[in-house]
Symmetry: C2
Subunit: 243 residues, 2 copies
């Protein structure tokens, strides 16, 4: 059975304007690979209702899971929950369990659960809350869409909560061989080897170190024995230079 | 006249598998903002012909410019040039000027312009070459699509070459006010102010420092006087705590 597939949607003007460097994709990618879910696509859109709705509907239709990050805070530019509800054609309203979580959190800190903060208790009908151990305001799962915060430590905590509830597939195994030659010298034999192992993915990533060209060759696959066999062949093709 | 719009397409299995952290979007975003081109969307797709073609055609149709990164090296997984040619319905072939650039580069280093390296001289019909001062192999512009290398220092050099040839719009001005309060406390007055300045974009970015909540308020716009006026109003709404 093929692995489940996933997409990620990053929401936020601050990424596209260059103000903030996106940092959640790399974390999610690694976690999904570990449990055998194939991340197939990511998109980054601004805080724009129509753009979010269009991307949510395109990606949730094309993949088994969609993870969103960003836009679920208390301010006017936090419109992800509304946009996701609209994408599903479902109502959005303050929900009692979410309100109770926020009320307890702010009460324990002597702060007011004001109208802005209460926005974070608005949850689309039928969604399941995602625990936020960092700052209380929950994410939610609606159908196959997991709506997570954009702040990295909260995003990571929410990913852990969600992935505990998801059935993965065969984890992808990755091995790397460092070769002291430039990509151009090894491309032809590498392509020939890749053709012999069509079930594996072969990547080639050039670097320059101390003025010398080198390449990291990466073999990925779900069958450990096949990955090992391919690595042995690669190591024989490209032996380390004698030092 | 509204600013020109742009999208970015990042191509590479290594980003979606979590092996490599994407780093070019942040650079491109900042450079485009500086010359008044609005980056509206980014997508990340694997080294998959169909996925690249679909994304290229969707994004080049929706925006004034599309910038791609990755997949133009010498190995079998470098399929961006082919996919872009196919997206335009144009032939791809080794071009003499590109071959001459590569021949000179490798000759000067005493290296062979072998078949794999020659792949990097395959350019879609009618494209304009983009200079690569780092490692010679050129990018290209075809219609409104700018095809750039994924290696960060080469990507940045190619962005500089391309942007020198593009007419931008009104550069976006950005000002930031740091407020020593959490987002929830300032959301309501911030939303009211934002409603008075519909031509500006107001962002709110919470942080925690030494255990205390704070928020960076960011005002963006193309009219400096309007941005200044909004910043004065913000500073009056949220004066710094007396130390």
């Amino acid at each position: 059975m093929p692995n489940p597939t996933a997409a990620m949607l990053v929401i936020g003007d601050e990424i596209l304007s260059g103000r903030t460097r996106e940092g959640n994709l790399h974390h999610l990618a690694g976690e999904l690979c570990r449990i055998g879910i194939d991340l197939r696509e990511a998109r980054i859109v601004p805080d724009d209702r129509a753009a979010i709705i269009a991307a949510v509907n395109a990606l949730r239709g094309a993949h088994d899971h969609l993870f969103t990050s960003g836009g679920i805070g208390p301010t006017h530019d936090d419109i992800t929950a509304e946009a996701v509800a609209t994408a599903f054609g479902l109502p959005l309203a303050v929900r009692e369990d979410a309100r109770a979580i926020l009320a307890a959190h702010y009460a324990s800190r002597g702060q007011e659960l004001n109208e802005a903060r209460l926005r974070m208790a608005r949850i689309p009908e039928g969604a399941t809350l995602i625990d936020n151990p960092v700052s209380a305001a929950p994410g939610f799962t609606l159908g196959n869409v997991h709506v997570l915060a954009g702040v990295p430590n909260i995003f990571q905590a929410m990913v852990a909560s969600v992935l505990a509830t998801i059935t993965g597939g065969t984890p992808l195994l990755t091995q790397t061989l460092r070769v002291d030659r430039g990509e151009g010298e090894i491309a032809a034999p590498l392509a020939a080897l890749a053709a012999e192992y069509p079930d594996l993915s072969f990547g080639s990533y050039p670097f320059v170190q101390n003025g010398a060209h080198g390449t990291n060759l990466v073999v990925r696959g779900c069958d450990g024995a096949r990955v090992d066999a391919a690595m042995l062949r690669l190591a024989a093709l490209f032996p380390r230079d004698e030092g």
